[in-house]
Amino acid sequence: MQLELRGITKRFGALTANDRISLKVEPGQIHSLLGENGAGKSTLMNVLFGLLHPDEGEILINGEVVKFHDSGEAVRRGIGMVHQHFMLVPVFTVAENVVLGFEPTKSLNRVNYKKATEDIRNLSRQFKLEVDPNAVIENLPVGLQQRVEILKALSHDAELLILDEPTAVLTPQEIDALMAIMRSLADAGKSILFITHKLKEVKAIADVITVIRLGQVVGSAEPSASETELASLMVGRQVQLVVEKSAFNPGEDVLEIRDLVVLDDRGLLAVDHVSLEVKAGEVLALAGVQGNGQTELVEALVGMRHVESGTIHLNGKDITNLTPRRALDAGIGHIPEDRQRDGLVLSMSVADNLVLNTPRAAPFAKRGTRNLGAVSTNAEQRVKEFDIRTTSIRSPAGSLSGGNQQKVIVARELSRDPEFLVASQPTRGLDVGSIEYVHNQIIEFRNRGKGSLIVSSELDEVYALGDRIAVMYEGRISGIVNPSISRESIGLLMAGTSMEAAGV
């Protein structure tokens, strides 16, 4: 299918999310749409998929102007969308999910499961998307769930597939598999619109790259362009992709974890006898696919989850099973995984959020009464020091962009001058400029001779920050390696292969 967007403009009040965007996707082409968070990618895709209506401009399919009133029409015209967050029913089988809403029926309106299963088998064979039609979704790994989403789109005879940040949740191996699928789909004549902000993937797979920034097309590039060129185009200024680190100069052990056992919310073993140590002046990067116990490990460190057995020592002091308050006071700085859930109170002001976990410390309060003057002074300083872009320190934190929200947390945690920093996915969902900033702050902290544990499922981040890399799989540390190791080996460790088999 040939798709053309001509001068698509979409406004939300005073904000122009898409400003006269034009692009063209040819049949059998993988067209990559590259842009930071908030550049207008999702808005454009929602316009294309009929979920939003453009204020100006037109959509052409095979040279014919079309108008979509809802997503159903877009589906009928052969557009399929694979959402970033899967739209699958976890307790249904693959077949049930794929036919959901379009079930083949027998007499008396009974669903014809046999035909559904058969159809899916054919479809999987045709596009080499191996998946068992009778498997239940919740038992499948994320990579396979994504295949089901793709199958679902293909089952509606999609000629153009929109993949919205499809790699965010995948392991490196799964990403490779997805790339292969995309290529074979393109070879079969399908057009693919691939939305991402990851430069490596774009270079690996795209035929054409369109970069958008602040709602406008700022240029197109060949896949041969360098990552730095692409990043600069995306951000609009020169960016440093590699964090400059001083030489690794480890000191004494700061954090010692011995035989730690932690359960998850369902009471199942999440952290299985983990032992780790982090030295002063060291960043230990904890890699792993999400859901392998990293979250629970971090929660145990900061006192938010009960430790069943084992010990945690910080500078020789036992900090096992402290309350969050005591853990903070013991000198742990914490950048939580989900900043909006655990890190900020979005309805409260930036100034209040900057003292969220130190409201009683001098000079912010005295004998139970808050010193709002000191809170404001502190906020003014932090905003300047950490370059937090906000209209006012009294604006609610929710009015800030994701990058600036994260800066508020980083500013709060680092200005407390902690002994040890625990950061979970510190740059998730941030744009390249903010990632650069947060990484530099973490490295600066390390250069001051402090230890930190950075949990990340992004390999780029793991490599950029880690002095050593620990890989976690199913609650255990499957290996601790140096950053000189290949991405493939780390990928294997993340998938549970042993150190020997991974060739380490």
């Binding site: 908030g38 859930r341 109170v345 969220l356 808050r370």
Partner: protein
């Protein structure tokens, strides 16, 4: 699929928009919504009057009997609606005629100030209990047991006030403390249960109301507290030393008492607690985002218990203020049914958006509608229930800002979206 229509505004630098005066008044800011909800409530009340008053209905039924039947019906409708609202106003705030008479002759001040005095007398305990409820709502705790807490507080205060004899300067404060302690004890139970066992506070506080009624009946019917020589469900009368006496002296004929100063103190305390204290900061963080509160080291158990102590304590104080400024004794019907200030407090706190000053205005409005409604019932054939209808309609409109916005075609608020100020069951 609605959650995919994410309108991302991340990359756009936020710019401060200075709203013009007109946008400020024509946009859906909370104050404007509350004011318009009041207007809508009154309009709704007018419709109820027009459709339920027999005289009005008769006039409309006969609209084709005469050549001027329709104008006559309109006239009758207008007459009845305006009379009802006029009676509510003159009965609760001021009657311009008697007031003018007092101004010109200097006489009859008691008569012309009585409506306002009555409104404030009713508003005083309402303000205190509603602020307590508002504090719990701001923390995300749905304390709907304020009525029971007020009952126990009233009993506690009346026990101190009627069983011990002391000079006023110790006795009155001690009796007020007795009220607070009674409410705290009653509030501590759901607080502790919630903190340590996770029992849902809505269930516990709601059910505890019934426990307190039984306790009340037991108290007013058993020997030490029952009025000596009585077999009715009535308590001893509190000593004059523990009474909140009329503000302008007993000879003034105005009931408004020193209790209003207690309410002022509570308002100042609540303002300090919520806006200035570290403890209140913990409360607000917990209310706005319990997960972030936990991650920031706030002790959730402590917050739950302390909030229930404060909320219950204020309810108890309100209960005793009610006793000490009006009846001076407790009977088996104390705070039951229409007199259940602890239940009215829930709607008042909602209307006042849980803020101390907002609550004050909402409580005065509700008290005025109640007091004025009685006047209306006495002078017209419209029942007091109309006041309740108007109160309910106002709260309904406040709770559905989207509806108000649509009716008046308000623009979106320039600063932040309206948020309902309670979290309810799920929290």
């Amino acid at each position: 699929m609605s959650n995919d229509v994410v309108i991302t505004t991340d990359a756009i630098e936020p710019t401060e928009i200075k709203p013009s005066l007109w946008t400020r008044y024509s946009s859906a800011n909370p104050l404007m919504v509350a004011a318009l909800a009041l207007v809508l409530g009154l309009v709704f009340g007018a419709i109820v009057i027009a459709t339920t008053t027999p005289v009005v209905l008769d006039a409309w039924r006969g609209m084709f009997d005469h050549w001027n039947g329709i104008p006559h019906a309109v006239f009758v409708t207008w007459n009845n609606v305006s009379a009802a609202y006029r009676d509510i106003f003159t009965g609760s705030i001021v009657d311009p005629q008697t007031f003018w008479h007092s101004l010109t002759t200097g006489k009859g001040w008691t008569a012309s100030l009585t409506p306002l005095s009555e409104t404030l007398t009713y508003a005083t305990p309402l303000i205190i209990v509603s602020i307590g409820v508002g504090i719990s709502f701001q923390t995300g705790l749905f304390n709907i047991g304020a009525n029971g807490q007020a009952v126990v507080g009233g009993i506690g205060g009346a026990l101190v006030g009627s069983m011990i004899k002391m000079p006023t300067f110790i006795h009155l404060p001690l009796a007020l403390v007795g009220g607070i302690v009674g409410g705290m004890v009653c509030g501590a139970v759901p607080g502790v249960l919630k903190a340590y066992t996770g029992a849902h506070e809505v269930i516990v506080t709601l059910m505890f109301n019934y426990v307190t009624y039984a306790f009340l009946l037991y108290m007013v019917l058993s020997t030490p507290f029952q009025q000596p020589g009585q077999s009715n469900d009535i308590s001893r009368t509190i000593y004059p030393t523990a009474v909140l006496s009329p503000l302008f002296g007993s000879s003034s004929g105005l009931r408004v008492s020193f209790g209003i100063l207690v309410a002022v103190a509570v308002v100042i305390f609540a303002w300090w607690l919520l806006d200035r204290s570290s403890l209140g900061f913990d409360f607000r963080v917990t209310g706005a985002n319990p997960l972030a509160a936990r991650a920031s080291g706030i002790n959730a158990k402590m917050v739950v218990i302390v909030v229930f102590l404060i909320s219950g304590g204020l309810a108890g104080l309100a209960g005793y203020v009610q006793v000490a400024s009006t009846t001076h004794y407790i009977d088996g019907g104390f705070l039951i049914g229409d007199a259940g200030i602890g239940f009215t407090a829930i709607t008042i706190a909602l209307l006042g958006r849980n803020r101390p000053m907002g609550t004050v205005w909402a409580a005065i409005l509700f008290a005025a509608l109640g007091v004025g409604g009685r006047n209306m019932q006495a002078l017209t054939s419209i029942p007091l229930d109309l006041a309740t209808v108007i109160q309910s309609a106002i709260v309904l409109f406040v709770a559905t800002p989207v509806l108000v916005k649509e009716i008046f075609r308000l623009k979106k608020a320039p600063t932040s979206l309206l948020t309902l100020s309670t979290t309810g069951w799920g929290s």
